[in-house]
Symmetry: D2
């Protein structure tokens, strides 16, 4: 498949650069008959968009989405759903001095080497702007999963730099710009990030996503296992450097007597597996965690080279996030949704519709 298409049955084909006329996508394979409008997509886009707090990029993009096809009289027809989001606030002059140099930690160098040509404005195709397309498509997937199976997908920030964020309640997530599930720790997070910004530096973040209500049976072993496809989808998000499921890397030091989840007449006793066994959903909550690296573009001087190989120092200015993870939660939720709907359809294809688990689970 082409590198800009995600999925096998429910697919998203994405296009668009940071400073081009528009970004957009095509969702194909969406089941017909579902109510859908721009509002459904806009709600999710608004959760992600820049300019909503002092901790995120001050680029003002309304991110207004327009649906171009695939919907008739308010319902999906089964035809591909094309949508675009026009770029508005591009402020080219912020990037002009980058044309000849490679920003450390960014894809500038690798894109130039691979393609022999690079749209240097805002990272071009490598820009995180593209994630708006994922969020828009994810909204469609979320809706269907919710209506058809009662699946809910919720993400939150579980760690900001060195600060672990204990989980208090999902209700807190929508109330703060961090998507933190914890009201108590907010002042500490704010102070921490202000400090990082004052140091002209950045930190990473750990994002967690939970899918509830996923029926047992989704996943296509042995290569398209559900966890493998989730890892793929999450790792494809800009700045992600690690993905783990359930106990994840903590599994390494665990005993088998502790880690493997026993079954009882009332369900699984624990969930170290993170809801996936043998690459197939078990009916338990699916829990995935992502590690995001610190923002590469910081106001500090950094060493780099130009196209001729001459050394230089650079300071990126303009609009930057001290932590890209602050905006990642809606994107991670979208990827979870896109992978789950694809697998719901694949399971339905091979095995007919979902088998209701035997009552003891």
């Amino acid at each position: 498949m082409s590198g800009n298409t995600l999925g096998t049955l429910f697919t998203l084909t994405s296009f668009g650069e940071s400073h081009g006329p528009a970004i957009g996508g095509v969702v194909d394979g969406c089941p017909p008959g579902m109510a859908l409008s721009e509002a459904d997509l806009q709600v999710e886009l608004d959760r992600r968009k820049p300019g909503t707090s002092r901790h995120v990029t001050q680029r003002k993009e309304p991110d207004t989405v327009e649906i171009l096809s695939g919907v008739f009289e308010g319902k999906t027809t089964g035809a591909p759903i094309g949508f675009i989001i026009r770029n508005q606030d591009q402020r080219s002059q912020d990037y002009g001095k980058i044309a000849e140099t490679f920003r450390p930690g960014h894809a500038d160098y690798t894109y130039w080497q691979k393609y022999g040509i690079r749209d240097y404005r805002g990272g071009g195709r490598s820009s995180a702007r593209e994630t708006a397309v994922r969020v828009a498509a994810g909204a469609i997937a979320k809706k269907w999963l919710k209506e058809r199976y009662g699946v809910t997908i919720q993400g939150y920030m579980s760690q900001l730099g060195e600060l672990t964020i204990p989980f208090e309640t999902f209700d807190a997530v929508a109330e703060n710009p961090f998507f933190a599930p914890n009201r108590t720790i907010l002042p500490e997070l704010e102070a921490y990030l202000d400090k990082i910004r004052a140091e002209r530096d950045s930190v990473g973040a750990r994002i967690s996503v939970v899918a509830r209500g996923v029926p047992v049976g989704w996943g296509e072993p042995v290569y398209d296992r559900l966890d493998a496809e989730l890892a793929y989808a999450m790792m494809s998000i800009n700045a992600v450097k690690g993905v783990e499921v359930g106990a994840g890397f903590a599994s390494v030091a665990q005993r088998g007597s502790e880690h493997s989840d026993e079954l009882t007449a009332h369900g699984f006793a624990t969930n170290h597996a993170g809801g996936i066994l043998g690459g197939i959903s078990s009916g338990q909550d699916i829990e995935v965690h992502l590690a995001l690296k610190p923002t590469s573009s910081i106001p500090q001087e950094r060493r780099s080279i130009d196209k001729q190989g001459e050394e230089l120092t650079m300071q990126t200015t303009g609009r930057h996030d001290p932590c890209v993870g602050v905006r990642a939660t809606p994107i991670a939720e979208a990827m979870m949704a896109l992978v789950l709907i694809d697998h719901a359809l694949r399971h339905r294809a091979q095995c007919g519709d979902v088998v209701t688990p035997t009552p003891h689970i």
Copy 2:
């Protein structure tokens, strides 16, 4: 694509269960004209195979591979390469009592729910036996990458349960059954694992894989990014619960001033990125780490249910590893090779053959 096919251009289609007549695969898209024989595959299979130390399953499988097509007068023809490995030592009676129950931590429950039928012998299709197919195919990929680009792929165990294994030298890896890159710590590892076994328990492991000599430019953003595809391939290995690239989860707490690798006239100053930037190889070493969970099948009593939902306790007996990670290194290397060759070909397709990086890198 079907769930049992890996790759886009250089593909592996795998088949076979633990106790069926044979396991095998078809490698398609292999470049023609490369010398290839069973010996090339056997070498890698022998690194993986069971019965080679007291720390791994005592199932005696010769794992003799037979190539059925795609090779003529000792060279690949470009036609698909079919190969099989007959199962020999199946000892069905060890699994007989499992037909009605679900082993905790295994795929028994999810396979039964998904398909409505389950080959309960040795885990059926969910068995790690299938990884032999990956290793055989990976041998083909490794050979081509080595001959065409000088790429080397080496894996090792970086952590065993609670014990971190400091890296001393790659030379040690082939000398011990752990694939540990450290001679000094071996007695400690042996004692540790013996202790775990005596406790009738198991532990996990962390495996690291390094690819050297990968040219700049491989990877297909934005979804088929090289790191995304590596995460997918690694997470598809039985027992893997997490995948990270470069600094991985440690990136969360790092500062941007530390994490992003500066460029100098002599190359990158550091490699927290793990050799991948913007989803494209940078020319640096590609470093991937996997977390494997502890073996689920342990001799301790575990609670479970049967098909009717009745609670019971079970003790799996027969052949089991106290740490599945002990054998994982060759498998992880194979997955690295399979993903890299696919991307080498995809890059060659879109951009012509690899661009030599400008001399300063």
Copy 3:
């Protein structure tokens, strides 16, 4: 893959209905560094567009294409190229009475049965309007094939209804609305089609496409043979009922001594194969022929049923072609281009760049 994506490496993902806001597509996998602008696409779109002669639909669509991504400073970047064409002249009222009925020969009935919902305006997704997207994408493919390999792709009408059109010269094709390669027969064609229209009926057409300069070696046996993929691409065009290569159906009655093309020191002696042997291009002209059925929408009364199964008669009015084949030539050329570029890249991936045939061919 998803049904609205064509290709493996150079892919086109298409969206859009006859009466929706816009149609468009995403071309992914285009090699970087090629000069490209809207003008390149517009030229081909203008060849196809409605309203250019009395023999074709009088729907006035400017078919102005807008490129949204994938091009920077006038060159392709390797990133996906998104483009849209806004629908303007939709005249909904022409189709209003069709909401409850199924037009014979159209996809109304099957779309309604499959999806349970149907955009009845102008055929919705089944409309030939979508072919504009193919033509736009085909322009990109044509350009690259021409510049990289000197490949030229030319189509023409070889039969109109009962009239066979003898080939005189390619130069005539651009001079008449039929794309007929024959100036002499034009008055006869005009009179014939006027007669058909006066009878309130329609006829079919046979379109031929020739690709010259295709190097030897393109095609991926045994399933993705070049002729198989051409058949797939051509049969996917609205109204196509048959596809043949070279001698095609005439091969049935030929002798082997006549059909198989002998090789000489100066090349092949004949070309009954149509340029493809064993599913791989031979270096000769690739010749493909399509059969298009007569337009289904005609002003005559036709029997049909409504959604409740009640019989009725209907007369479609509004804008209709007496022969859809009149506009098919640019579409067939586009499909030829899209398949060839995909195979050029696939060949380059597995076998490196094209091997120059030994000098005698």
Copy 4:
């Protein structure tokens, strides 16, 4: 995807050459729970196999298939079904003199140019031997389609060289080696083919395949239309030069008033569409016709060249068919089955299980 994999959900990956150790395949995505054994595949293989009449190749291959995976206690498990057929009667010496030359009409020249290496024994990968794999896989598909939906697939020869074969009854097909649906014409066919053989020549054939009982709704517009995928599958069969659906090429000269099938309260009045409208099955019989070219390998002297470009004449000897079409019917049926099952699953994925057509059809 790789060129040796057919399908999207129900896939067949094929391997094997004429003179290698074995041919075989992997069927992935088969629904679980269906009774399956080697006998089901052998029945179809026996219909196809060589040595069954004087009109076909005298190579004696038992074509005994062995299933290696994917079946447990007599039922499909949902895991991939691997199967092989060992080559026995390879008579290498028949082909020895071909190593340096290219047989006209065969893929020798194109394979050598594409891959730079060629298994010259019996055509290597280009050999029609591979079609046994299709037939074996097709048997699995046929079974499921029959049991799940009552679909029957029957093929027959509709033309042998210059002789049109009028359809009398399907019952005749199994009684003669031509798969002719006509008892009356058999002596004429026999005499005709004997004459061709005596002339040391060959002729082509036209094969027709009919699928009955296919529900309405299968097909994935706009590119993976059911007719497009059938054209692809059929054109991929060795020696096929043309594919048409329903009225096919005869549609060109038909009037719209005749061609488009009217709907009545009792169903469609005619079936010029061949059971497919807008790329989706209509519930009517699906009718596809293939044109097979005459056998290229004939005992007459033919001009060709060797690898150095030197002209020569050649006479292929050994085992040859005077008409490859004589054995094509089971292969065409298999391709029909493989495409239909893939689309049955794809439809089920996106739209849930098949909607029962409203009672009037």
